[in-house]
């Protein structure tokens, strides 16, 4: 376990900020970074960077099968991270935690392996209008290949899922419901437990896209009763290149392998193979070992702070941000009220293009995202081509929100 000087009882954002070396840098001469783009990727605390550095300096070896000391240590690090990640999301067993590259690959794994083995023409898969492209396109590809029918839970004007509509869609007896736990644009935190109960009652399995939920508030797969949960390391203080697919053991056991190659086999003959046991069945080839070590350190870091404390801090900053942004004339916020959302505030500012908004904000050091945020259908729904999105994490402050608002006034002076 990584050590940390943080106590679970005290959340002090200035102490937290000192854990993230990048927050010290200037983006232009004399202009310090105000990082409001954690929904795209979070910054990394020193403990994560150091864990990966230490791995490469002292441990680096390929995992499994090696009998020398380095291989033993690397394998132990790799598997101990799996156990800590399993505990972090409340999984029963570490073997239910599959290492992938990211949320996208996790969802593709389910679509390719479970989908091809269990879906046929005419079967219904229910998605939502607020999905990230990563939870749309894999199912569209499957629909084209197999003739699977896609249906969508609609989004209401205040940015929530229409659960009455969902109830009607369930009469189609879907095989799978796949939805985002938290929208990366609207910030809406969806009532996952209720959706899962409704889906199960109708006989459907459920995949939860946890890319925005697992990094930001406590997620317990057993409490949710999720069948699959996909999330990424890089949005939760970990490195890029490592993601997780959680699946219930019985489901994963019954699924055919995804990619073929080394490590995923029990026995290979010239013309056939027998797959390995879980979780290795789904981990072909040399994995991202240093990144697994980094994600393990990230999970330790977040666990030491406590996800309840992270969520409470983000909620406070987001509530303040929504108040301040609502005072900016000409600004139109997307999504529901603060109580129903996580640390995301997407908006349009008059008819100024989001690229121009983001570029002017950058001159003040404020990093936000501009575009469709990989949710083009959702922007179509609200009849806008793009939006500007500020997002908040455990290291953001109210002062940074003020800098965002000051920057927006500058944008209006130039383009208004």
């Amino acid at each position: 376990m990584m050590t940390t000087n943080l106590s679970k009882q005290v959340f002090d954002v200035e102490t937290i900020r000192r854990d993230f070396p990048i927050l010290d840098r200037e983006v232009h001469s004399g202009v310090k970074l105000v990082y409001l783009d954690s929904t795209a990727t979070s910054q990394k605390p020193g403990v994560v960077i150091e864990a990966m550095d230490r791995y490469y300096r002292q441990t680096n070896a390929n995992i499994h099968r090696g009998v020398h000391t380095l291989a033993e240590e690397a394998t132990a690090d790799y598997e101990s991270a799996r156990q800590r990640i399993a505990k972090f999301i409340g999984a029963r067993h570490a073997r239910e935690v599959i290492y992938t590259r990211n949320t996208t690959e996790s969802i593709n794994l389910v679509a390719y392996s479970w989908g091809r083995a269990n879906l046929k023409a005419g079967d219904v898969v229910i998605l939502t209008e607020m999905e990230h492209h990563s939870n749309l396109v894999p199912w569209q590809m499957l629909s084209e290949e197999l003739g699977v029918r896609l249906e969508f839970i609609l989004v209401t004007l205040d940015g929530r899922l229409d659960l009455e509509e969902f109830g009607r869609l369930l009469e189609l007896r879907p095989k799978l419901v796949a939805f985002t736990h938290m929208s990366n644009v609207l910030g809406t935190i969806n009532p996952a437990k209720q959706i899962i109960q409704m889906a199960h009652a109708a006989g459907a399995l459920v995949l939860v896209d946890g890319a925005q939920s697992v990094p930001h508030f406590p997620v317990d797969v057993q409490d949710l009763d999720a069948d699959f949960l996909a999330f990424s390391g890089h949005k939760m203080c970990g490195p890029t290149g490592i993601g997780i697919l959680y699946g219930k053991e019985a489901l994963l056991e019954a699924m055919p392998p995804f990619m073929g190659g080394g490590d995923m086999i029990r026995r290979v003959y010239l013309r056939s193979f027998a797959p390995n046991e879980l979780p290795y069945k789904f981990e072909a080839g040399t994995p991202a070992i240093a990144e697994v070590v980094g994600l393990g350190a990230a999970v330790d870091y977040l666990s030491a702070i406590g996800m309840d404390a992270v969520a409470a801090h983000e909620h406070a900053v987001t509530t303040y941000a929504l108040e301040r942004l609502s005072e900016v004339s000409g600004l139109s916020l997307m999504g529901p009220e603060a109580a129903a959302r996580g640390g995301v505030a997407a908006f349009t500012l008059m008819d100024i293009h989001p690229h121009d908004v983001a570029q002017i904000l950058d001159t003040e050091g404020v990093a936000v995202r501009a575009g469709h945020h990989c949710a083009m259908p959702l922007h179509d729904k609200f009849h806008i081509p793009a939006s500007t999105r500020a997002s908040f994490y455990l290291y953001n402050t109210r002062a940074e929100v003020d800098q965002l608002v000051d920057g927006l006034e500058k944008v209006k002076r130039i383009f208004g």
């Binding site: 293009h353 989001p354 690229h355 002017i360 469709h372 793009a386």
Partner: protein, 132 residues
């Protein structure tokens, strides 16, 4: 960075000279920037000699993409299609008079990509049309 918003870009974005749709037209083409969803359509009318007589763009995008499209339309009046096909990314940057990073370069080059795909009569606009 403030150079990025030179007066000409702000002015052309606010008051474009070549914004609109030509109907009928001799050549039309439209495409999107998949990174940001910006969309540009270009319409051309040619004279008997095959020179560009009128040019117009429509669609939506940021100030860089709109100003770039407007300046590009202005620059091709009186040019032959063969000359249009020879336009490069440097011509666009010279029009704007600024340096751009890789992300905003895509904004600036969208109109050239669309224009050249139309001039060549291609089915799709490819990034290779605007690579040096």
């Amino acid at each position: 960075m403030d150079d990025l918003y030179r007066e000409i870009i702000i002015e052309r974005n606010r008051n474009p000279q070549f914004r609109g749709v030509l109907d009928p037209h001799d050549i039309t083409f439209a495409d999107e920037n998949p990174l940001c969803g910006d969309h540009i359509r270009v319409d051309l009318r040619l004279d008997e000699a095959g020179m560009v007589k009128e040019a117009a763009f429509s669609g939506h995008g940021c100030s860089i993409s709109q100003a770039s499209a407007d300046l590009l339309m202005e620059s091709i009046i009186g040019k032959s299609l063969d000359e249009v096909k020879l336009l490069t990314r440097q011509d666009v940057l010279d029009n704007l008079g600024i340096e751009l990073g890789p992300v905003r370069l895509k904004c600036a080059l969208l109109s050239l990509k669309v224009l050249k795909a139309g001039a060549y009569g291609l089915g799709a606009a490819s990034d290779s049309l605007v690579e040096d």
